[in-house]
Amino acid sequence: MSSIAVKKGFASTVWEYLTTVDHKKIAHLYLGAGGFFFLLGGIEAMFIRIQLMKPQNNFVNEQLFNEIMTMHGTTMIFLAAMPLLFAFMNAVVPLQIGARDVAFPFLNALGFWLFFWGGIFLNLSWFLGGAPDAGWTSYASLSLRSEGHGIDFYTLGIQISGFGTLMSGINFLATIITMRAPGMSFMRMPLFTWTTFIASSLILMAFPPLTISIFFLMFDRLFGSAFFDVTMGGNTIIWEHFFWIFGHPEVYILILPAFGIFSEIIPTFSRKRLFGYSSMVFATILIGFLGFMVWAHHMFTTGLGNVANAIFAVATMAIAVPTGIKIFNWLFTMWGGSIKISVPMLYALGFIPSFVMGGVTGVMQAAAPLDYQLHDTYFIVAHFHYVIIGGVVFAILAATHFYWPKMFGKMLSEKLGYVTFAFFFVGFHMTFFVQHFLGLMGMPRRVATFLPNQGFDLYNFISSMGAFFMAIGVIVLLVNVVVTSLKKERVGNDPWQDGRTMEWALSSPPVYYNFKQIPLVRGQDTWWIEKMEGKDELTPSEPLQDIHMPNNSIIPFFIALGLFIAAFGAMYNPLNSVGDGHPMGTVVLILGLALMFGSMLVRSIRDDLGYYIPKEDIENDAKGGKVS
């Protein structure tokens, strides 16, 4: 087997992607599926802004608006932002630590397919009687009373994709703990790997509470339990707490990898090592730690009492300290560097002020008394879009440009990239800056419309116009992707010329076994050190030898499919509270679970020892059969 790019048929390419366990191909899958859901969520966002463009608009009715608004939030967080970050983690982290794959390639594939089927399940709600309509937070008192199956699609879909996320989290943790190349100590790890590590540990600790609370909601709605039913002794505050015990770490799960991406981009284009590496690592860990002690700041108005509110307010404000350390470190990295402006660097430059603005409004809300005023207004909407778009989406777009050549071997057009950036950046600030004022003037969030002449008209109109700018930016990016994939020209190992970490020492895209020989890491910014010594490849840590690789498998696909089928069974089981249950539901539930557990059993009974690539083939590849 050699890695020479042979023209493959369509069917065999599809089969390859269905069965792949290669982290680089799984990265493609995450990027494709995450990108698809990002577009869906974007369309939903446009519908929201069109509806709110003018007072008393009736572009959509209230029910549909609630559904769109709920699906926008849920899709963007669970099905777009996280998977897109997983795409880059998958593509880059094993390369950055000098590994041939992740610790559990099979689990990696399973994680993707669970996410995928969960996302599909959630979105099928549009065609099967209506989408969830209780907000992405789905507070139990409201979601228990929601009519139809919308909320059931939410619980089951998020549950399935949540299992996938949890698996990926464990996988990255194990990979970073056990698969680092010789010499790659923890304090030599690139920042993106570090932030992946911390974000993964947050996933490990934060997703179980979500799993549990979603089970409660699902049991309440589908199997007749009484966790949240106050008349039966239940308590809806339990949902709120669990949701935010998960939900707050979740925003750090999103933002930390974004920080990591910018910590790669800024030194690369400042051509200077990252300022304050160890304080960056420390700040990342501290943010992760504090992230677990602040969840109740989402619940100041619930009435937890002054003591609880004060504790959580102080803890929340404390997070500004490590975040500030990071901001200053990025600024100092650029200071005195020889800065080269490129598309990724532009996003990084745009990110710093945008994110600081989102951070400052965050500290404002941390003051509990002020939060009573701001709670559930557009100020909150403005705040979290500033941190999530200004932080996470900018990072995703930056990484798309930055890592595209490494993932696909072709450079995205710089020119179109600048156009995207201009539209997106301007549009973003136009959309959300004015929403601060809307919030301060008292416009509540999650309303389907508003009355004229209350001072909301103009700002809402500006906001909607901004949304169109962002949409144009995204469309240009899509055009860019299409144009680029039609291009013939391929790039070399280090297309930005200033790559610092090990992924830039490999061909673009890397051969399927990544490293001919596992490298020896002689310091932080490994590839930069080698380049400075005039070498054009990494120092190997082992002689050339046969390489052990994992086998492809279709089983992950079937395990996830089994759960997907079981979810339909659970939804239409005879006990469900909607009242359209059917005995067949139970049968389908059992069949789906049987498919899942059966596939797992097959997996554990069949030996999967992987295979070896003989030394000769690797030498052959290295001699020029290589893709680049």
Partner: protein, 210 residues
């Protein structure tokens, strides 16, 4: 080269077969991480149980102090603790490259686990029929059945897992491919016991205290 074909004697068998290969080490680390996640998962169930304990719609519903019985829970605890010891024996024999003994002790573990599960089913059945204490009768009962039932489901899964290992490897003996599998299965089994320690303390003993 092939992990299945490598032959060992008790002398050449590694001291820690579970982490002797790269795959084994990954499995070992990954499984402990999974257990960390499970810790938070069960903590969430415990927290809910504590918040909803004795939270019933009216005074006709059974409360914790009314239904639990010390004797049954003590027997269940003793059985599960013993099964933890037997799986330690199994791992002891695995490390000494004594396949037959390992299989035997794992099988005893399974038997003990199955009897624990039988007692739990009896217990649930008893609650339903004598106290009308069902999954949907109150928030308290929902929280109780979800916590203890999730533990029971873990026991059930563990039984299936260990049995599958025992039957799959019966003919071919111990090697560095299946040693890590046995090891993590035993870790899982111990973890089930750890959870049970808190269940009998927090749910049953504190429940009886009222």
């Amino acid at each position: 080269m092939n992990l299945l074909d490598q032959k060992f004697t008790p002398q050449t068998w590694p001291e820690h077969p579970e982490t002797a290969t790269h795959e084994g080490k990954n499995k070992f680390i990954g499984f402990w991480l999974f257990l960390a996640g499970e810790t938070v998962l069960f903590a969430s169930l415990f927290a809910t149980y504590l918040a909803l304990k004795d939270s019933v719609p009216n005074s006709e519903h059974a409360l914790a102090a009314d239904i639990y019985s010390l004797e049954l829970v003590f027997i269940m605890t003793a059985i599960l603790l013993t099964s933890s010891l037997t799986s330690v024996y199994a791992i002891y024999h695995m490390r000494n490259y004594n396949f037959k003994q390992m299989q035997l002790w794992f099988f005893i573990t399974v038997l003990l686990g199955a009897s624990f599960l039988a007692l739990e089913i009896y217990e649930f059945n008893h609650y339903v029929h004598h106290y009308n204490f069902t999954f949907s009768s109150s928030a308290f009962s929902s929280a109780y059945y979800t916590l203890v039932g999730t533990h029971g489901a873990h026991v059930c899964f563990g039984l299936g897992w260990i049995l599958a290992l025992i039957f799959r490897n019966q003919k071919r003996g111990l090697n560095l491919y299946n040693a890590p599998k046995y090891y993590v299965a035993s870790l899982y089994w111990h973890f089930i016991d750890v959870v049970w320690v808190f269940i009998f303390t927090v749910v049953y003993l504190m429940g009886i205290l009222g």
